[in-house]
């Protein structure tokens, strides 16, 4: 039973983190290509 509660808790935390990441995305991310291919905003 305890393992079940832990799994559900982990699932809830993961869902919360993903929703938070969607709502508050990190600004000024580094370049992806490293070759100047990314567009500057």
């Amino acid at each position: 039973m305890a393992i079940g509660i832990a799994i559900v808790g982990l699932y809830a935390v993961l869902a919360g983190v993903l929703i938070f990441k969607y709502e508050k995305p990190k600004k000024n991310r580094g370049k992806i290509t490293g070759r100047g291919g990314d567009f500057e905003s």
């Binding site: 039973m1 079940g4 799994i7 559900v8 869902a15 929703i19 969607y22």
Partner: protein
């Protein structure tokens, strides 16, 4: 027409609205199929005699499918909320557009309900699988 970067008329916004609605519906298909399998096995008591690895596999598949569906539905709803903001800025609207523009409260409630019900269903799945 709204003038935020690009101009979008009512027809474009309604087309986007329908796309968002379709995305929400299609995102529910795969978790529903997984839940059918889990429900059937649980109803026949197959998990009580299953190995631990099989139980955790079932939980893992249900968790991954559920969380991906939940996030894509949540994102579609939040984008639909932004679409409603654009719809309300239109000067002249049809009755359909006005009806959609008035449904923001229901949409916000849906976002909360999808997350809440998703967590509740996963808790029930965990209970059914682990016993």
């Amino acid at each position: 027409m709204t003038e935020i970067g690009i101009a979008m008329d009512e027809k474009t916004l309604l087309k986007l609205w329908n796309e968002k609605r379709t995305q929400i519906i299609t995102a529910q298909i795969s978790p529903a199929l997984v839940l059918i399998g889990v429900m059937t096995l649980a109803a026949y008591g197959k998990f009580s005699s299953a190995s631990d690895s099989a139980k955790y596999l079932a939980l893992g598949v249900a968790a991954v499918t559920g969380i991906l569906a939940m996030i894509s539905q949540y994102a579609a709803i939040r984008e639909a909320e932004a679409l409603i903001v654009d719809l309300t800025k239109l000067e002249k609207r049809t009755a359909l557009a006005s009806k959609i523009a008035d449904s923001r409260g229901l949409l916000s409630l849906s976002a909360i309900a999808i997350v809440g019900m998703g967590l509740a269903i996963f808790a029930l799945v965990t209970w059914a699988v682990l016993g």
